[in-house]
């Protein structure tokens, strides 16, 4: 909301410098986005150089067709000679003159100048040159009664300041010059001037003869009032009005439209002016739209309405979407002579819904959507009638049509004095509270331990005691509050074990050289297809966003993998070679119930990574290790070990993984994720080269089941003994089966068996391979002897031969 200081001064004396006023407003709850000078820059002395002049004589310039040489009386002993280029300059006009030494709003410096040989000491100004309008056709012609030599600033805002304020949604009263002025009066402790009574000529003709009004949809329109003005002449607005309309950021149109905008800006009550001649049947009906009914709005857009939208219609068709925008064909034009002036109050919920359904907002609807005081209507109509009859002529028909479903009267609230300090943590005296509330326009009565406060109807936001507490503290000054801390009497905080484990998982991966990414939770549904998921799989059925920003961000991810692949591809395009990324984030599963109930989808906190390129950066002493299946599996193993989780791996079938290089991860018999090489077709779809590996794990499960406490075991008093064992087995026999049987055959003293070498080739024969195992034996009661271990080992061999067909490699 743009508010020129000169306009605010209609209602309040402003003594603070603009910057200080802005900061005071900000610290009491009215955000000021910008404070900027308006019009000619400079102090009061500069303003003296802008004066009223009278054109005494006008002659054509001897050497220039388009220039005039004028003699202008600016209240000095003799008239000045001023050369003027405007086509409309004429003798007898009262004009705005700027004298040498001044600077215009557009930065132009005024000096004594010779124009085609004629000396010009000053300049006759247009509205644009004073910043009152965007573009001027010629110079500004001022009212005749202004006297030569008067300071122009007496009449017009030659130099001004503009406050651009952001009003919070609870304060629609401040979406007006008057409301803001009231706020400024309260915070600067200056009197607020209510404004004058408005007078205007009224005809004998009763308004009911001009118009009949019905409000069938009174639930959406608590009050509808109208007046009729006949015999107006539509034309341009006077300079002062154009100046204010322009300063407020609107565009001057004509005197009728400008007056309705001016009243809205001044008082906060939107108005609508109809050309009475275009109101079919001289009838206004405030009703819900009929389904499919259309309207072409002022922004020249055809809109289709639905039956929950409120319209202002005549006997035939809707001419305004109530409170939002009028139709292009009921607009006031040059030929309009009779005007129907509407001031109404609409239910904010209806305005909000219609705005959002039509994606249409206006200065008017942004006010109505916040809820307005219906008691603003009569003064707004009065102000508009007074201005219109003054600027456009005409007479106001007698009476007002005013249809009210309910009236709003001031109401009372009680404020307990002790409650204020209880909530704020600072003592404010009863007298201070009463003073603050009075300055805000409330009536306050002392009732002992409480104040009885009568709320004016323009403060619809003050409904409860707590609202008054807020008013007290914001005017009292938040800077006066002490900085304390709550005093906790029981309990204590901290991260849960699960939260610490998630951090540990992240730290383990970062410590292993992976970089964490954060990807949007919504993805392109095409990505799920690219993962080759079958349509029936749960991962292919995501939560769909009804109003996405784009199709690329339209479904909630069911896996972390596609986002990670996309990030990997983007970084590859930036010529990154080693791309090792991980993410910790949620995936969303509509087919599984949420622990939060309420029909919400299940959210799983997952951990995913992708590896592409060498495991470590290039170095001349280091052979390049590719990020292959075993690299990814090793990382999963390292992670699980770090979390204290014992897991097993087995072959799995995932459509997005290489069928021969894919494993599921089992913990306690439950599948908690997968690791593998990404399928070449998937990589192709994501623009990645072959050989990218990835994994995804359910962190919710892992952080809940991992080891929470490691209990000490003495591994030192009776040390372990290691022995190697090379077994030749069938090529297709999986290592985990060998290890399981070895474990069983080794008995309780065999603590660990690990594969440290694999060999296939002529030495072991076709279809066979050798697995070299390192066996760790340990007893917790004695030191094992060489003979004992040799015995254990030789006892294992027949079992391995029998159950695995394993031979000892010679």
């Amino acid at each position: 909301m743009k508010a020129p200081l000169s306009w605010l001064r209609d209602y309040v004396e402003i003594v603070l410098p603009p910057e200080e006023l802005a900061s005071r407003l900000a610290l009491t709850g009215t955000e000021v986005e910008r404070v900027e000078p308006l019009g000619a820059p400079g102090d009061d002395a500069v303003q003296e150089l802008f004066v009223v002049g009278k054109v005494v004589e006008r002659e054509k310039h001897p050497d220039a067709d388009k220039l005039s040489v004028c003699r202008v009386d600016v209240g000095e002993e003799s008239p000045r000679t001023i050369v003027c280029g405007a086509p409309n300059v004429a003798a007898g006009q009262t004009v705005a003159v700027v004298l040498p030494g001044a600077v215009l709003a557009n930065g132009m410096k005024i000096g004594e100048a010779k124009l085609r040989g004629v000396k010009s000491s000053g300049m006759i100004l247009s509205g644009a040159e004073l910043g009152f309008e965007a573009k001027s056709e010629g110079i500004m012609v001022l009212p005749e009664e202004w006297k030569a030599g008067e300071r122009l600033a007496e009449h017009l805002p030659v130099s001004d300041w503009l406050l651009d304020v952001e009003v919070t949604p609870n304060r629609p009263d401040c979406l007006s010059i008057k409301g803001l002025a009231r706020e400024i009066a309260a915070i600067t402790e200056r009197p607020f001037v209510e404004g004058q009574d408005f007078a205007f000529p009224v005809s004998e003709r009763p308004v009911e003869e001009d118009i009949s009004i019905e409000v069938p949809a009174s639930d959406l329109c608590p009050r509808y009032a109208a007046r009729v003005i006949r015999g107006v002449t539509v034309g341009p607005s006077p300079t002062w009005l154009k100046a204010r309309i322009t300063a407020a950021g609107m565009r001057p149109v004509n005197n009728v439209v400008d007056v309705t905008n001016y009243v809205m800006w001044s008082l906060g009550q939107p108005l609508h002016a109809f050309d009475l001649a275009s109101v079919a049947g001289n009838k206004i009906i405030v009703r819900r739209a009929q389904p499919g009914e259309g309207i072409r709005t002022l922004d020249d857009t055809q809109r289709t309405l639905t039956d929950d939208m409120l319209v202002i219609a005549d006997a035939e068709k809707p001419s305004v979407i109530a409170g939002i925008m009028g139709s292009i064909d009921s607009e006031v034009t040059e030929s309009t002579t009779d005007i129907l002036l509407e001031a109404a109050n609409f239910a904010r919920s209806s305005i909000l819904k219609t705005e959002s359904a039509l994606s249409l907002r206006s200065e008017s609807s942004t006010r109505f959507e916040k809820g307005l005081d219906p008691n603003m209507i009569p003064p707004a109509l009065d102000m508009a009638c007074a201005l219109l009859t003054e600027l456009a002529g005409g007479e106001v028909s007698r009476g007002t049509v005013d249809i009210q479903a309910a009236t709003v009267e001031p109401w009372q609230l009680e404020l307990r004095v002790a409650r204020v300090s209880q909530l704020l943590g600072i003592e404010v005296t009863k007298a201070e509270m009463a003073d603050i509330l009075r300055r805000l326009g409330c009536q306050v009565e002392d009732a002992g331990d409480r104040l009885r406060v009568t709320i004016p109807t323009f403060r619809l936001d003050l409904e409860r005691e707590i609202d008054l507490v807020e008013e007290v503290v914001r005017i009292y000054g938040l800077e006066r509050l002490p900085a304390a801390q709550p005093c906790r009497r029981s309990g204590g905080g901290g991260l849960t074990e699960g939260q610490r484990k998630v951090r540990r998982a992240e730290d383990l991966l970062a410590g292993a050289g992976l970089t964490q990414v954060v990807v949007y939770s919504f993805i392109d549904p095409v990505w799920l297809t690219a993962l080759r998921l079958s349509a029936e799989s749960p991962e292919a059925k995501p939560v769909v966003i009804r109003n996405p920003l784009s199709v690329e961000q339209s479904v909630m991810r069911t896996m972390l993998l596609p986002g990670l692949l996309a990030v990997a591809a983007r970084n590859r395009a930036m010529r990154e070679e080693r791309i090792h990324l991980f993410e910790v984030g949620r995936t969303f599963h509509p087919e599984r119930p949420s622990e939060f109930g309420g029909g919400l989808p299940r959210e799983v906190n997952g951990l995913g990574f992708v590896l592409s390129g060498p495991v470590v950066e290039k170095h001349w002493e280091e052979e390049i290790r590719p990020s292959d299946f075993y690299a990814a599996k090793g990382l999963v193993e390292r992670l699980l070990e770090g979390l204290g989780v014992a897991a097993s791996f087995g072959r799995t079938d995932k459509p997005f993984l290489h069928p021969g290089k894919a494993a599921h991860v089992l913990v306690g018999g439950q599948e908690v994720g997968w690791v593998g090489e990404v399928h070449p077709l998937v990589l192709q779809a994501f623009d990645l080269p072959e050989g990218v590996v990835a994994a995804e794990l359910d962190l919710d499960v892992l952080s809940a089941m991992g080891r929470s406490l490691t209990v000490f075991e003495d591994l030192i008093t009776y040390p372990a003994v290691e022995q190697d064992l090379a077994l030749v087995v069938d090529q297709n026999l999986q290592a985990d089966r060998v290890l399981r049987v070895v474990g069983e055959a080794g008995g309780p003293l065999l603590r660990e068996a690990r594969v440290f070498d694999v060999y296939e080739g002529p030495q072991v024969g076709a279809g066979r391979r050798s697995l070299a195992l390192r066996l760790t034996f340990r007893s917790s009661e004695r030191t094992l002897s060489e003979e004992e271990i040799n015995r254990l080992r030789s006892e294992m061999l027949p079992v391995l031969r029998e159950r695995l067909g394993a031979e000892l490699r010679s």
Partner: protein, 342 residues
């Protein structure tokens, strides 16, 4: 060698010591060993011939001969050690690397700056005795709006451009619904923060459709607005430095009353006014306020018995201010050149 009179022994002794000392290589030393202590050495021969010596010479030769032998052996050993050390040193001297070349790579990854910042925030409040809780990112309209005192016709709803899943389910527009969920489940006292992802239908240079917030909630007996001020002052100092100040400005949020916005004194100019703070000396960091009695009404907490405060901050905003990141979108582009900086 006191009392040694035999000139041949004396000569062997003195010459041997001198020769061992002056040997320059281990090979030279070996030759000397053979010459003085070998099987055919003069001393060995002499010792071997003792039985053949005249009776009166035997004791002296026996005693001194063995003494000389031991002494020479010791001298030889000491000379060998010296030579070995010298040769090792010489070998090491030759075995040089360019210590200024880079070491073998040990991979080091990075936590995302959002994660790092979130942890910093969490750790500050954990230090103040808060718990960290989580809520769903896909929420009900009830928890995201209604129970936070945004009834359906409330103008504040239009401030949130909401992504909807259906009529009543949406992507949470703030972390505030976690307040409601916790208060529904647990009685006061409550001291908690709720970090997480939030979503709004807005995308431009200063908005991303997904972003991160940290919500804070305290509900206890006698909690005041002054307590909120002190808590956030502590937070600002721990996050941005001990010299930081905060200021509260009245504001409006439907679920707190009184509501405030909180500014921190600009860390770039120390509050003097610069480009970062648009010459105001202050930077807005979060919104806060006293829990609105209507919200307590929704969760069945008596506002006459308990009071509380809540606050919410944007993690990206905090990170941008603290680390000087100039473009919000960098957080989600996941360009390794950006991520590796932190």
């Amino acid at each position: 060698m006191q009392g040694l009179t035999r000139p041949d022994l004396k000569q062997i002794y003195e010459r041997g010591l001198r020769d061992f000392e002056t040997a320059r290589t281990l090979a030279e030393l070996e030759d000397l060993r053979v010459r003085y202590l070998g099987r055919k050495a003069e001393l060995t021969n002499l010792l071997r011939s003792i039985p053949e010596l005249p009776q009166q010479e035997r004791p002296e030769v026996g005693r001194f001969g063995n003494l000389v032998k031991r002494e020479l052996e010791q001298a030889l050993e000491s000379a060998r050690k010296d030579l070995e050390q010298a040769e090792l040193a010489k070998g090491l001297e030759k075995d040089r690397v360019d210590v200024t070349l880079p070491g073998r790579p040990w991979p080091l990854g990075h936590l995302h700056l959002i994660e790092q910042t979130r942890r910093e925030i969490e750790d500050i409040f954990v230090g103040l005795g808060y718990d960290v809780v989580q809520g769903p990112e896909i929420e009900t309209d009830y928890h995201n709006f209604e129970a936070l005192n945004h009834p359906e016709d409330h103008p504040a709803r239009s401030l949130h451009d909401t992504f909807f899943v259906d009529e009543t389910i949406l992507l949470r527009t703030h972390t505030s619904p976690v307040q409601v969920r916790v208060m529904e489940q647990q009685p006061p006292p409550l001291y908690l923060i709720a970090p997480g992802k939030t979503y709004r239908r807005d995308s431009d240079a200063t908005h991303t459709p997904m972003f991160h917030q940290v919500e804070g909630l305290v509900v206890d007996r006698g909690v005041t607005l002054a307590d909120l001020k002190g808590t956030l002052d502590t937070f600002a100092k721990k996050m941005f430095g001990e010299e930081r100040q905060i200021r509260l400005r009245p504001h409006y949020f439907p679920f707190t009353e009184p509501s405030v916005e909180v500014d921190v004194s600009c860390m770039a100019c120390n509050g003097q006014g610069c480009r970062l703070c648009k010459r105001s000396g202050w930077l807005e960091i979060l919104g806060a306020g006293m829990v609105d009695p209507n919200v307590f009404g929704f969760v069945g907490i008596d506002p006459e018995e308990y009071s509380g405060f809540a606050f919410g901050m944007g993690v990206e905003r905090i990170a941008m201010l603290k680390y000087g990141v100039t473009d919000l979108r960098l957080f989600y582009e996941n360009d390794l050149r950006f991520l590796r900086q932190f």
